[in-house]
């Protein structure tokens, strides 16, 4: 018995010694690596080690320095694709935002929508804060952080500090958008006003989400909207995003369905060079003229939004969908390298736009 215990003790001592030797060797190696390295860098390296231990199995995705769909469209779309890939593969994701120097609400909406998508599907979603204090404050001020630690159901309605809205229960919620407009009007005119043209824009977008956003079934997709009051420039900026098939792909899907003749007519009559031309035709209502021959009660949504811009109900209309970027006010319609699987619309409301005082 004693002999056995002695052997066990010897084994334990040997293992303990081996651990100590290995630890010393590792320490020596680490110290050698850190020779001549500044204290800050050493701290950073230590933090990195802690991070690596804490976030094992996370895919790290670096956010663009300019985190804005409007200002940095291509990079942000590429970022969205990376996040989407992780979602498809059910991979935990860590968004590295520390180097972000500019941020806008439209992109925060995108980030929030992704966060909820991950959390609702029980996939971990995490990230760090931008080093830039200004950017950090905007992110924190958006209320985004509160949502980082909540549990979600995809079918909820969320309101974040009256700046970001999302909706899924019933896709067309005209009462909600009317309230959003009232709030915006108070910022611009210091009183409640109605803006029927802008309400129409919201209704058309929600309706489009319901009809075209998903190929699978009606009402499946969510829409998101951000509202921000730019006091300096005296305007309220709106963005609306849905993740569906997008406007162009929605039309192209009709190529094989009951609208096959429509798409062929578009090709033969207008001879569009690319998708950017197709979007322009859609917005200007030229395609609706053909669609209504076969489905007269469809395809009025986009021309309705375009008309709202032309009638000065809204300003500075920008549409990003599939591989097309359209700055309607500047007549700039162009194709992009990266696709948006869905539709993003941005517009502004200022005191020169139409409103009705009750």
């Amino acid at each position: 018995m004693d002999a056995n215990r002695k052997i066990i003790k010897q084994n334990q001592d040997f293992k303990s010694f081996r651990r100590k030797v290995r630890f010393r060797q590792m320490k020596k190696l680490r110290n050698r690596e850190l020779q001549g390295v500044s204290r800050e860098k050493k701290k950073e390296s230590q933090l990195q080690n802690i991070f690596n231990k804490q976030f094992v199995g996370y895919k790290i995705i670096k956010a663009p320095k300019i985190f804005s769909l409007l200002e940095n469209t291509e990079e942000l779309l590429s970022f969205i694709h990376k996040v989407d890939d992780c979602f498809t593969n059910k991979k935990k994701v860590f968004i590295r935002m520390k180097d972000t120097t500019e941020i806008s609400y439209d992109a925060i909406v995108v980030l929030l929508s992704k966060l909820i998508q991950f959390k609702a599907n029980k996939i971990d979603f995490n990230g760090d804060f931008p080093k830039d204090k200004n950017v950090e404050n905007i992110l924190k001020g958006s209320g985004f952080i509160e949502y980082l630690y909540k549990n979600f159901d995809n079918q909820d309605t969320y309101t974040i500090d009256k700046k970001i809205y999302t909706h899924a229960n019933k896709n067309v919620n005209s009462a909600l958008t009317s309230t959003i407009i009232e709030e915006a009007s108070k910022n611009l005119w210091n009183e409640k006003r109605r803006c029927p043209g802008m309400q129409r824009v919201f209704i058309e977008l929600m309706q489009n989400t319901n009809n075209h956003a998903s190929n699978h079934s009606k009402g499946e997709k969510l829409w998101w909207s951000s509202i921000i009051h730019n006091k300096k420039e005296e305007k309220v900026c709106f963005s609306f995003i849905d993740y569906g098939v997008g406007i162009i792909d929605s039309l192209k899907n009709k190529e094989t369905g009951k609208f096959a003749r429509v798409f062929n007519s578009i090709k033969s009559i207008f001879n569009p060079n690319n998708n950017a031309d197709v979007l322009k035709l859609l917005l200007e209502g030229k395609i609706h003229e053909i669609i209504k021959e076969q489905a007269y009660n469809r395809g009025k949504g986009l021309p309705g939004i375009y008309k709202a811009w032309k009638s000065n109900d809204i300003s500075n209309l920008i549409v990003i969908t599939n591989n097309v970027y359209a700055n309607v006010a500047n007549s700039k319609y162009e194709e992009m390298k990266n696709d948006l699987y869905g539709t993003f619309i941005y517009w502004e409301l200022n005191s020169n736009n139409k409103s009705i005082k009750d």
């Binding site: 067309v172 919620n173 009317s178 407009i181 309400q199 129409r200 209704i203 929600m206 309706q207 007269y296």
Partner: protein, 114 residues
């Protein structure tokens, strides 16, 4: 004879919504079924006009208007000329709505008679 009056904002909703009931509250389908069509029948029985006031709402979507008025021909199988004779529109806030609705009625008439 006194005309029948209908104001969307007070008789239905200040926030009319989408086309169909399943798409959300205060849809065009709901408006046509429960408000517009009964009022139209009332006006027809009395032999007077139906005056529809479009003002006072938060805004009217294209699908709401098309389903409400185009649907009178498509779903309720009303006669185009009868509808255009009986219904009269009022809108001080946005007169463009009137032209738009008349366009939807004509499109629906054309489609039904093809």
């Amino acid at each position: 004879m006194e005309n029948v009056e209908l104001k969307i904002a007070t008789d239905f909703s200040t926030t009319p919504g989408a086309r169909y009931k399943e798409e959300g509250d205060f849809s065009g389908e709901e408006f046509r079924e429960y408000v517009l069509y009964p009022k139209f029948k009332e006006a027809k029985t009395k032999g007077c006009h139906l005056i529809i006031n479009l003002d006072g709402t938060a805004g009217l979507g294209t699908s709401f208007l098309e389903e409400s008025f185009g649907g009178l021909l498509r779903t309720n199988k009303l006669d185009y000329n009868e509808v255009v004779d009986i219904i009269q529109f009022v809108s001080i806030e946005n007169p463009d709505y009137i032209e738009e609705i008349l366009g939807y009625l004509f499109d629906a008439y054309e489609k039904e008679n093809k």
